[in-house]
Symmetry: C2
Subunit: 317 residues, 2 copies
């Protein structure tokens, strides 16, 4: 299982490379929610999402010979950009397998970081199999998006910063899909703030992790129909689930309409752009705010990669 | 003339009250501009703009008896909110004179902070005279938006943070209207970074300060027709101009269409919301980027108070 020392080692690799993102607060938001909300702004992270932490840590942990052979990754968007940018920074080649309906901004940004992009159909093709085939044919190291200890450790540095920077925290709610961020943050936060309760947040339409945690076994669902394009994973990863079963209190869900309302709130009150997946934790807190009355609650804005046209279309829908 | 020690005294009053806002960077922005751009994110300041610094400092510097008599202010928006919030935090009453065509978000926020709002027509009425009359009738202290040393000193703490936090800086470009932020920042930055050149940025349609600095005397213009609603002042203040004549190298201008392009860029690449006035410095840098090639240039995002409907209308115009 992922250990705290792997997270502190990741923090060393990321020092001076990843941003130590701010934790923002708003009296207006606190008044609306009935609790003190501490917002970890990973939308201000390099390439616009927390995923940079895991991608960079995984590639930085490779040997020079492994880096010379290049890396392969599959992702609906932000992990793609994370691996592409990290590979560029560390001087190695990257091939990224992305769904053809991923946001254009994310596909373009991945290409912009110098990666080769291979598109697939997320409804009919298996991305892991495609990535595996590319790796078999060309060599190089596969960097999975979440079911991989170096990626989980990198994402855990986000939780480390919450635990170090936020003061007292009663509960933490973390956007989750494959479980990399949630599991990494859970290990870091439980080590430093053992009394803090950890929650995941996922779209109501794609509540596989909520089902999995309540049943105690990984459940697989069809590709969920949600605006949260980064949270459409069909099942939590094996390694993350080991951590989540032990350390996570519950998985909360959020409706797409609440996610949109939170995107507007964050725009107008916090002056920041969050993508739909990035607003899921705040939306889940809002829907479950009765449960957190009077607490100090940290949440993650996991990413901000959305172009203005899609943002406007969602807010006007 | 404003002194550096008044700015450090303001910094003491603001410690733990104002946010020490981050200075953000983006490789994509640097590549596009041909220089290193250091973005001071005052849109993330309390009440969404740098104006909180000056408003709070001015009210905090009053005696208890003065505070008990209340404060009066006139403003196109952000100074209104700054005085309203500061008065609320410091337990005193505030009356704010605002133009009736100010953005609704700003009027509503000012009322939300507990202030009484008096509206006027900016094309036919003199706001300073209205505020003066209210003060004469009801008593209290008038807190002018820029031509007032305690306000200038408060705004100067933004420049103090740039000088302390940004490392080497070759040039600083600061959004300017009445000159409070520009003059305060100029004193702070010239004290700590004497080699750094200071520039103001104003809308091309309202270049009164550019004219004033080049002629050496304050020029007054008609209310300028610009989307930058916070930069429609008709003349620089007397006290700020003393500083600007001595310390500011030049005033740059920006077209409204460039301001809109920068709002989109900041949204998509920096994941942040800046209001039109808040994007003027970045827009002026973009229009004058040949002059700053290879430099490290700090700019201010002076505010982020714009509702989504107006933001969308501008970007789709």
């Amino acid at each position: 299982m992922l250990t705290f020392s792997e997270i502190t080692a990741a923090a060393e690799r990321l020092r001076g490379v990843a941003h130590r993102t701010p934790i923002l607060t708003s009296r207006a938001v606190n008044a609306m929610f009935g609790c003190e909300v501490l917002m970890k702004a990973e939308n201000l992270q390099r390439m616009g999402a927390f995923k940079f932490r895991g991608g960079y840590n995984a590639i930085a942990a490779l040997s020079a010979a492994q880096r010379a052979a290049g890396v392969v990754a599959f992702s609906s968007g932000n992990h793609a950009q994370a691996v592409a940018l990290s590979a560029q920074l560390l001087g190695c080649k990257a091939v990224i397998v992305m769904p053809q309906d991923a946001p254009k901004l994310k596909i373009d940004a991945t290409k912009g970081y110098g990666a080769e992009v291979v598109l697939y159909d997320r409804y009919t093709q298996d991305r892991a199999a495609i990535a595996q085939q590319i790796q078999t044919e060309r060599g190089g190291t596969l960097i999975p998006p979440y079911d991989y200890l170096p990626v989980m450790a990198g994402q855990g540095t986000c939780g480390l910063e919450i635990a170090l920077d936020a003061g007292r925290v009663d509960s933490v709610i973390i956007c989750t899909s494959g479980g990399g961020l949630l599991s990494g943050c859970a290990i870091a936060i439980k080590q430093l703030l053992p009394q803090c309760e950890i929650f995941g947040a996922e779209p109501e339409a794609g509540n596989d992790m909520q089902q999995s945690l309540r049943i105690g076994e990984i459940q697989t669902i069809a590709v969920p129909d949600t605006i949260c394009d980064g949270l459409q994973t069909q099942a939590v990863g094996f390694e993350p689930f080991k951590v989540i079963k032990q350390h996570v209190k519950d998985i909360l869900t959020a409706k797409d309409e609440t996610v949109i309302a939170m995107m507007r709130l964050v725009f107008e009150r916090m002056k920041m752009v969050v993508e739909p997946s990035g607003a899921a934790a705040l939306a889940a807190l809002y829907e479950n705010r009765e449960r957190f009355q009077g607490q100090r609650v940290a949440i993650t804005f996991s990413g901000g990669n959305i172009d203005f046209a899609r943002f406007a279309k969602l807010l006007n829908s």
